[in-house]
């Protein structure tokens, strides 16, 4: 076991291969490998604790000329996000258990988990980019093969849009590596060695190229238009992985690549980037308010929530960074739960419009409870996880550039203005004439188990955030301005 980090991303990939050839037993293989993946990351996390000095490094290198080396490392930020990936992947497998799908469905999810793990582990920018792009392929097939009516359009749009961002990221990386070689005479893609000061006057161009690649993924307004389609058309579990983990790649990229390489530039960009982030929180909420489709509403709410993450992270204060990072996990849990429940509704009724339901609270009390619980977590009720993350992110923004915090607070208010009426319309209002509420049965034991797990975590982070914040802190310490 000299390469535990390689095993970490290779295990789900092996699972994907097994699923692809396992035929009708694929879902059992998927469950087994997903559980194994959770076990591996948990073991690694406990072995390491939050001690950044113990950060595991696995390295083979240089594997090729031009300074490309295979270098993986896991600090608490990586392990936290891989933990989220592994956990949501397992949740997705359990939540999809009754679907009648081909073995490739399970293979795609495990392949996606593998590529995401690689993104969070890679410390060599070449491999970072390869894993980054590799995430697109399984998600393209997940949307295109198992999505809803407009899936064909959404799949291609998703791929092209995010690829457009990555192309600029790649050019920026190439410029960075070449400039480093020109100045130092050394070819390297190693994040720890690369020195952006070699770029000279080209530094802003390279910085913004990187930011463009990350901003599409987050997504930051005005680069968000792929998201509503992709999230709405993907199957429920696909939306969970998209919102729960794939959006986090963008913020992670800022934290891991753009900020450490360009500490000054990234802070100077706060008015622009922070302004766009604050605008995202308001604009996302306003768009969510106008939606008549539950899934689309949650999709737009993701834009708003990622705006809070960004506000915190960009502020470069210790509480902002901690809150923004915690909010990455929070959003994965709450939005994941909401997408799953819309998926459960859709499986039963083949509808997901706000006007298609009414009075669901009396027919499906469990569903009403969990939906209400997750909605409250999502709008930031004190005592649940969303509050902690948003509060800390906003207080960080207040310390860095107060106007951003004021805009963010407006976004928080607006969140309640779309989420609560939507809950009311679906669960409490009397059923309208076209209502399909009578088709909706309550959650079964499997579905309840999934949601209990997610809700318990939401409550835990909300009541006792300290261990979570302390866990991430060592990885973020170096970024505080």
């Amino acid at each position: 076991m000299s390469h535990p980090l390689t095993i970490l991303w290779a295990a789900p990939l092996a699972g994907a291969v097994v699923c692809a050839v396992a035929g009708s037993r694929a879902k059992y293989a998927a469950l087994g490998f997903s559980a194994l993946f959770v076990g591996l990351i948990a073991a690694l996390g406990f072995a390491q604790g939050s001690n950044a000095a113990l950060a595991v490094v696995n390295e083979i290198g240089p594997v090729w000329s031009y300074g490309i080396s295979y270098r993986l490392s896991a600090d608490s930020l990586s392990i936290g996000l891989i933990g989220l990936t592994a956990f949501l992947n397992l949740i997705c497998v359990v939540a999809s258990w009754e679907l009648e799908v081909s073995p490739w469905y399970w293979a795609c999810f495990l392949a996606l988990a593998s590529a995401l793990t690689g993104v969070f582990l890679a410390r060599d920018l070449f491999f970072f980019y390869v894993f980054w792009e590799a995430t697109l392929i399984p998600m393209f097939f997940i949307i295109g093969l198992w999505g809803s009516s407009n899936r064909l359009h959404a799949a291609v749009k998703f791929f092209l849009f995010t690829f457009a961002g990555s192309v600029f990221m790649l050019l920026a990386l190439l410029a960075l590596v070449s400039a480093h070689h020109r100045v130092s005479g050394v070819w390297t893609w190693d994040l720890a060695v690369l020195d952006a000061s070699a770029l000279g006057s080209a530094a802003p161009l390279v910085f913004w190229g990187l930011v463009l690649g990350f901003a599409v993924k987050i997504p930051m307004i005005p680069l968000h238009t792929w998201l509503p389609d992709a999230h709405t058309e993907a199957p429920a579990a696909g939306s969970v992985m998209l919102a729960g983990v794939m959006l986090k790649m963008g913020v992670y990229g800022l934290l891991r690549v753009a900020m450490p390489l360009f500490p000054t530039l990234s802070f100077d960009a706060l008015p622009v980037l922070g302004g766009l982030a604050a605008f995202s929180t308001i604009y996302g909420a306003l768009c969510a308010m106008a939606q008549t489709d539950l899934k689309r509403m949650i999709a737009y709410s993701s834009i708003a929530h990622l705006g809070f993450c960004l506000l915190g992270v960009l502020s470069r204060t210790s509480q902002g960074l901690a809150g923004g990072t915690l909010q990455l996990v929070n959003h994965g849990l709450t939005t994941g739960a909401l997408f799953l429940m819309v998926g459960f509704l859709y499986e039963r009724s083949h509808k997901r419009g706000l006007a298609d339901f009414g009075d669901l609270a009396s027919r499906a009390p469990y569903l009403a409870f969990f939906f209400g619980f997750s909605t409250l977590a999502s709008v930031g009720l004190p005592g649940l996880n969303g509050f902690v993350g948003e509060f800390m992110a906003l207080s960080g923004a207040l310390a860095a550039l107060p106007i951003l915090a004021f805009a963010g607070v407006l976004g928080v208010t607006l969140a309640a203005a779309y989420a609560l009426p939507a809950f009311q319309a679906v669960f409490w209002a009397p059923a309208g004439p076209g209502s399909v509420s009578d088709k909706v049965t309550d959650l079964d034991a499997r579905e309840r188990a999934v949601l209990w797990t997610l809700s318990a975590l939401m409550l835990w982070i909300g009541l006792a955030p300290r261990p979570w914040l302390a866990y991430f802190e060592p990885a973020l310490r170096g970024l505080v301005r």
Partner: protein, 449 residues
Amino acid sequence: MTLMPMAPQAALAAGVLGTLSLGLMRRPPALALRALAVASIAGAMLLAVGTPAGGYASAILLSDAKSVGWQYLIYLGALPLALWLDGTDDVLTALFLGATLGMSLLAAAANLPMLFIALEFMSLPAYLLVARSRPGARGLEAAIKYFFAGGVAGALFMLGLSLYYADTRSLAASAALSPLGQAGAGLMAAAALFKLGAFPLNWWLPDAYEAAAPEVSGFLSTAMKSAAVLFLMRLCELAPEAGFIRLLPAIGAATALTGAVMALRQERLQRLFAYSSVANAGLLIIGVGAWALAGRSAEGVSALLFFLGAYAFMSNGTFAFIRFSGLETRSQLKGRGAAVPAAAAAFTILLFSLGGIPPTGGFMAKLLLLWRAVDAGLLWPAAAGALSALISLAYYLGMVRDLWFEKADESASFRPAHGASLVVACAVGVLLLGAAPWLMSSLSGGLTR
């Protein structure tokens, strides 16, 4: 002095003569013809492996790292067509081997007249190959168009050569050029750009690629393109001070964007991949420009070698899929994935590779080439090349979508032929190049060191 470095060309010449001799029989044995074609190409390849780079240099022919490396590319690009040829047509086989011999001579040409002879040697059989591979009025029309375009290219080269000679009194390398010599070098470069289908000299290419049999289009877009790239590189070497070199990045950028945009609206598959071939030629021209402008480094050569090597798999694989499936238009692709899963999955991998998605050889190829451009300070051509890759992804992904996500039209007949294994082999090739790129680069590194 030994003639051993010319052994691959000798093997091909023997193949041509053998084919023509077999053709004298009333009914040439098909199996023997096929075996002869495959044996000539494979034999030439093996002999090229045994050729020491730099072992031979005369006034007209030479053997250096590029000539050996490009021979690999040419034989690699030609091998699939040797496997496809049905063996009943001895003339077609002889034309194919003759064109390959011309390319192989081009790889070893040391001075300008020899380059011209090799250029004509590879082009003349290629015109006839286009006309004969798919009999009919369309094929003839395309072949005549192709012939005239090639004739113009040859004439440009001749005119350029005379101007160049008038200035320098030399048929080989020359450093300083007067305006007359500059014009001559520019005209000769125009001939090479013509062959590559560079903007705005690309109008003949889609017609020729569409009219020919798919496997012949694959041959033209891989072996022929490799030879044309080397042709351009040799000109850059012979006239290092020529002004056209500074224009290459811009020409490449325009070509890459034109090809990608034109391919967007194509319905017929062969025409679409013809434009995609133009787009890739644009990237190669940017790569040649970067190599020539940044001190003609070994890294630049190996980036071009890698790109062309990966492209040999990608382009031959896609045209092999068209030939295998018998599908002609994009809409006929709809829903066919499930009927031929292995070949369609291989085709999908090739499409992702053409689009430059990791972990495929196509990604590594684009990365290395654009990297050379960025390293040479050609930021805007590199950005144009990246933009062209992005645009082209729209139709590559569109085809993946049609193939797998759409419903098939059950009323239309769909009878795939034999040869899926070749598509699969090409897909395995690009995956290998993507997963272990150092296999290729250690080969080219050994050559260019």
